[in-house]
Amino acid sequence: MSQFCWWFVGILSRGLEPDERDAVRGDLAESGASGTQAFRDVIGLVVRRQVELWKDWHPWLALAGLVGVAGVLLSEIAFQFDGEILLQVRTYWRHGVHFGTGLSVGEDAVYLVLLFLALFSWSWAGGFLLGALSGRATWIAGTLFCLVSFLGNTALRGALSMSVLMIPFLLAAIWGMKRGYRMRALQFRQALLFAASVAILTSLLTWTSGWYETVRQVWSEGAWQPIPWPRRLLPLATVSWPVAYLLATSSRRCWYEYKGEQR
């Protein structure tokens, strides 16, 4: 029990600043605290530190904007992607043919590849911004972001097995969080390049998703009214907001550095 408590103390103390972690673990060793006492002390300090962090507005922005808005949309889009991939794989596995969406294999592949790349980029950007805004509160906000984005929809719809397909996006989000926590902001050139890539991906996705609308209209002999492109673009643009935020913060930092150099 005591060994387990010490192991848990080690995990918990990672939520503290490195210097503080060192001092606290040293104090506990010096005072000869038992595993249970150490656990109680460290959890008390970690909770107090977290409460202090959450008094700031940044983690709340991350929670509301990333978990609440981007996370929910990301979950919906990723779920659709997983559904389409599964449909194609299952049809090919059972019948050896491409599932008939009304488009050619190439067109379906282009759409799915674009969607995969966009989901990967959105997940990374969401993770990066979350890490940058939340700091040491990332492990709470980050866990919620991952749960909502990559597990929420599959759990709600009783398709937990589909979560396996979310692994690449989950890894992208964790990678982004680590980078965001360390770097806080991207270099201006990196941010510009990334924002341009995501904007191109988003535009291409809006365009290619229109192919399905046309096919449905033809199939239904005009009964199906195609969803206009602004309505198809809206959720994609909304889930991209972290990218815009990253570009804005990098531009601001670049501007201040430029002004500083001029002085």
Binding site: G44, V47, R48
Partner: protein, 103 residues
């Protein structure tokens, strides 16, 4: 005006002088009050007092007794001495003529 725990912490640190660091201050407070002093309360109060400029902290040397980990050393600043004196004087003044043992 300081809080009770802030005063205890500053006084313990002042008494310990050059040997004032987390574990030693904690032990001194526990010995004086007879109550348990949590690490959470100690370290968050240290931060608060440092922000107010009442004490200064830095990372000290590591010892084998501490498993090779560094100490967080503490020194009370002039402003800290002033605040503690003001608190002590206030407690002394308000206690004048009161005998707690009698009541």
């Amino acid at each position: 005006m300081l809080g009770e725990f802030e005063y205890l912490l500053l006084t313990a640190a002042a008494r310990l002088g050059d040997d004032a660091y987390g574990a030693a201050i904690r032990e001194a407070i526990e010995a004086a009050t007879g109550r348990r002093c949590s690490i959470g309360a100690l370290y968050t109060t240290l931060d608060r007092l440092e922000k107010k400029g009442l004490l200064k902290t830095w990372m000290g040397e590591a010892t084998s007794q501490r498993g090779g980990r560094a100490k967080r050393m503490v020194r009370v600043t002039a402003k800290g001495v002033q605040a503690s004196t003001a608190f002590y004087n206030a407690v002394t003044r308000v206690s004048r003529g009161v005998s707690w043992e009698a009541s």
